[in-house]
Amino acid sequence: MESIQKPHGHADSSPYNFSLWNIWVASTLLKILLFPTYHSTDFDVHRNWLSITKLLPLKDWYFENTSQWTLDYPPFFAYFEWFLSRLVPPLVAADGCIKLTAQDGEYGYLTVIFQRSTVIASEILLFLALQWLIDTSSSLKEKKRNFVIACSISLSPGFFIIDHIHFQYNGFLFSFLVLSLVNAKLGNYVSCAFWFAVLLCFKHIFLYMAPAFFVYLLSVYCIKHRRFSTKDGILANLKLFLFDTVIWSHLFQLGAVVIAVFAVALGPFIYYGSMPQLLKRLFPFSRGLTHAYWAPNFWALYSFIDRVLIQLAKRIPGVEKFLCLFLKKSYPIDYSNANSLTRGIVGDVEFLFLPEIQPKHTFFLTLFYEMLSMIQLFINPTYQRFLGAVTYCAWTSFLFGWHVHEKAALLMIIPFTFCVVQDRKLLPSFQTLTAASYVSLFPLLFGSAEWLFKALITFVWVVVFQTSFNEVCHFSTTRTRRVVALDRLNIIYVFLLIPMCAIIQMIDIESRNFPSLQKLGFASLMTYSVYCAFGIVTSWNSFSWLYFLDDSVWEEKKAI
């Protein structure tokens, strides 16, 4: 530690090498070894998009529906696929990579190698963005902190599982979020808006975070925060408020940048008149509240309670009648479509006892919490508060959103990684959140071949970064009111994930010998999502507590 504690120690003289180069090489080699792993239908989706952008003119991209995997990402992603499709070598194209079929694509190993390489290559941008985060640190201590952030993001098991096995381009997409956040940290608000607009045009799921960006940029860059004194009289104050609050030039800058980005993205499609079709593809509301495998959010718990009530009503006489009276349902309940435990595998979930959930309910719940968090951000727009708000927005939308996928957990983990180093009080909820969300990704890879890999990589990530964050987090500046026992409970929760995964895996293995265990197939998935949902909801509670009630966490930290 001796050289670390020197106030102006030169980076090269420290034993630490604050370069992500090593991390990149090691993880890339590992990712190449993952080429032969299982890939999901998302692989075929992206292959189909390559074919669409390669074979069809731009105006038909959003109309093409030969395959069921239609293009439903915003235009920049389509442009990205267009760019990739230019790079497809003829050998790979002939291998089945470029082909529009109604069936699932028939492609060989060459296509797999090509597409997986594009994921690895596009992810370089994430490493560059994170390296920039490290290089723009103001002190050695902050550099160390940012290095831990960068490592934890670049080595995240989420990217290994979702991008390099399951197949998606999240690493590439999140690099734009990182660029945007780093620009906000440096005070380059126009660039921040620019990169976030770019991000939105790549994947519209980031719209959930948009309120935080909007309010923060508006408040910190376009509005003069001042104290009004009573001496000047009401009229003068009112005049100041009305005509000298908004910094119009800044507002126009931001507006121009954002509109320019959207114009580039949407312009061609407006020109061809395919905008309505594009919007229809981007925002389909025909899907159900939850997936077959419940994402670990509030609705998982809600559905679980309904399941428990059904079982209670069926087994204990009298409960059904009471519940029907209490929940205003018609008695007796028709169990016909609730009978099998496999009911969850069919997409639409109908609740028997609890009230039905409409898209508008989820929308209002999300909006309510997001707006609630915006108030403090608007009044006191610090960078720290902004990170908290981004995390909070992503988190509430994950918890209450309509048709949320467990992959969306990265949406809150990445911004949370940026703000967890601000205060050690945030650490317990960060640990619970990351452990629970990464474990909830396990059912994505259902095969036995990847089981050991996903378990080991998640385990080692949790252990390594639990200790590293513990070392680099700011100590709380104020006396903490948190109960120590709660932190202990939190560690117990994280450790109980291990036996849970092990037991479910054992049941899964043994179900081939014992038919009685086969019925538990859905129950084990339900255990995953309910247990993880429990962790994510409770850590959200403690995060909300800190966000709304503990201002010391969100203050500007003095550079040490």
């Binding site: 530690m1 980076a11 090269d12 034993p15 630490y16 090498n17 604050f18 370069s19 992500l20 180069w21 090593n22 090489v25 090691a26 080699l29 590992l30 190449i32 070894l33 993952l34 080429f35 032969p36 792993t37 560059l128 390296q131 290089d135 095969g447 036995s448 071949a449 990847e450 089981w451 050991l452 890999f453 080991l456 990589i457 385990f459 080692v460 390594v464 200790t467 293995i509 043994e510 081939r512 010998n513």
Partner: protein
């Protein structure tokens, strides 16, 4: 005063592990390298295995599975007799018992994996995962702790290196690709045999002769190839009895107890066969283990006989009996120096050197050698990384790369091409052998920190530098030719033969260098060696 190793100073391995160098965190580093070693192995295990989807005979994967099948369903007396044409059991009894146990455990999961006769050629994803995990557990339980114990002893008592540097050295050993790719790619349980031998060496270092003897016997009764180490173990223990440091005279008690340990260990393993199968069993086991009627060499392998066979057609010139005698004579000559050295000059730091030289002599000159047999010399040679000497380290790295290269034809057949290149790059890069690339990356303004290149890729001696550079260039040329140039019709195996000749040349030179180093070391007084 503890020496600080500067050898791996600018290597990525050092960069990864240096954050753990505080005394209270050093144990973390030891476990971190193990977990990542497991992650790399499990990632390799996702890839293909030998004989995947190639009926009717498949490959080593099917052989291992088949042994689990027959040991679980047949009485012990039939194990070495059953349908010998289809992967009949030809490993020693401990492998049979190990197969029985793995088969039993696997049958709890899915009995159909090991159903008699009907399971032949079974290739389900779950079966593959199960066998992969058993290989991983075997390595985790035996080989990995043995490596750590060995480096700890060497670091503590011989070369005096700090704990974190011991961890770095054991990581350098654990990420060597040869064993990873054979055990977890191609699929075998070599880590059990190698790990037991290594544990035996560790116990020799701690002067536990009986335990060492038991472990070594277990090692070669898992896989007969372990006998390549036999001369060194034998002469070391004999020397320990002849010039005992306790009694300063011939230690008969020690000799008898070692002998008893060997006999009892062997006896316990053979006993079930004798009891349930009768006296004919041991003979059949020996016939299966040592198939001398299979000829001098089978496939293309980088040893003396196969390489020189290009010019001298042995099989036409000599009878099988003559060839056996010739190979026996050459092998004995080859193992003589190391055996004599370890007998007359019993020093603990020489064990790894002598094991390397002895097993290399077997590989180069003996009968019926397979390309995977390079694992035997490979194991003691990577242990030489504990000699904290830049010249030795660069020679060892060179050997490891050539060893990997010599298995290229086999791995290509197994379709382990990606794994071959990735693991090759990974281990070299981790040890800093690729650091020179940083200079070029820095020129094109990539975020690379430049530090002095403390790790020498090449030894100081110009001759060896020339040899190493030439061999790397030739190997690259062969790879390029193999990938892009169609071999002439008259010589369809030209690239494989090129591989064999090149690897043989390198192995031969390495063996000579190894013997030379042993000679230098045993003529240098011990005190001078330690302060060096």
């Amino acid at each position: 005063m503890a020496r600080i190793v500067s050898l791996f100073k600018s290597s990525p391995l050092n960069d990864f592990l240096i954050p753990f160098r505080k005394a209270q965190n050093q144990w973390v580093a030891r476990y971190i390298i193990i977990v990542f070693a497991l992650i790399v192995r499990s990632a390799v295990g996702i890839g293909p295995y030998s004989g995947e989807a190639t009926p009717p005979m498949y490959g080593d994967f099917e052989a291992q599975r088949h042994w689990m099948e027959i040991t679980n369903h047949l009485p012990i007396s039939e194990w070495y007799f059953y349908d010998l044409q289809y992967w009949g059991l030809d490993y020693p009894p401990l492998t049979a018992y190990h197969s029985w146990l793995m088969g039993k455990l696997g049958s709890f999961i899915d009995p159909s994996w090991f159903a008699l006769n009907t399971s032949r050629g079974l290739e389900t994803a779950d079966l593959k995962s199960y066998l992969r995990i058993t290989a991983l557990i075997a390595e985790l339980a035996i080989y990995i702790p043995a490596v750590q114990m060995f480096t700890r002893w060497m670091g503590r008592y011989y070369r005096k290196v700090t704990t974190i540097d011991q961890t770095i050295i054991s990581a350098a050993i654990l990420y060597q690709p040869v064993l990873i790719i054979i055990d977890h790619g191609h699929f075998q349980y070599n880590s059990v045999m190698l790990g037991l031998s290594l544990l035996a060496v560790v116990h020799l270092l701690y002067d536990n002769y009986c335990l060492a003897a038991i472990l070594y016997v277990l090692s070669f009764s898992f896989k007969q190839m372990g006998l390549y180490y036999a001369p060194i173990f034998f002469f070391y223990m004999l020397s320990a009895c002849t010039w005992s440091s306790d009694t300063h005279s011939f230690d008969l008690q020690r000799l008898i107890s070692i002998g008893l340990c060997v006999i009892v260990t062997l006896g316990v393993q053979i006993a079930p066969f004798l009891i349930f199968g009768g006296l004919g069993q041991p003979q059949q086991i020996l016939i299966r283990m040592f198939p001398f009627d299979r000829g001098l060499f089978e496939d293309k392998v980088a040893n003396f006989w196969c390489a020189t066979n290009i010019v001298i057609k042995y099989k036409k010139l000599f009878t099988s009996e003559q060839l056996k005698a010739m190979s026996l004579a050459l092998t004995l000559l080859g193992i003589l120096p190391s055996s004599l050295v370890i007998f007359f000059n019993r020093r603990k730091e020489l064990i790894a050197w002598c094991l390397a030289s002895c097993s290399m002599a077997f590989y180069l000159f003996s009968f019926q050698v397979h390309e995977k047999t390079i694992l035997l010399p490979w194991m003691p040679i990577v242990l030489l990384l504990n000699e904290v000497d830049p010249d030795v380290i660069s020679m060892v790295c060179w050997f490891c790369n050539v060893a990997l290269f010599s298995m290229w034809p086999l791995l290509k057949r197994d379709n382990l091409i990606i794994q071959y290149f990735v693991l090759g790059v990974l281990s070299n890069w981790l040890m800093g052998n690729l650091s020179w690339i940083r200079r070029f990356l820095r020129m094109i303004k990539l975020p690379v920190k430049y530090r002095d290149l403390a790790t020498p890729v090449l030894p100081h001696n110009w001759f060896w530098s020339l040899v190493i550079v030439t061999s790397y260039l030739a190997a690259s040329a062969l790879h390029i030719a193999d990938a892009f140039v169609q071999p002439p019709r008259s010589l369809p195996h030209i690239w494989i033969i090129g591989n064999v000749v090149l690897s043989f040349g390198c192995f031969m030179l390495f063996w000579l260098w190894c013997n030379y180093k042993i000679f230098v070391m045993c003529t240098t007084p011990e005190s001078k060696l330690k302060t060096n």
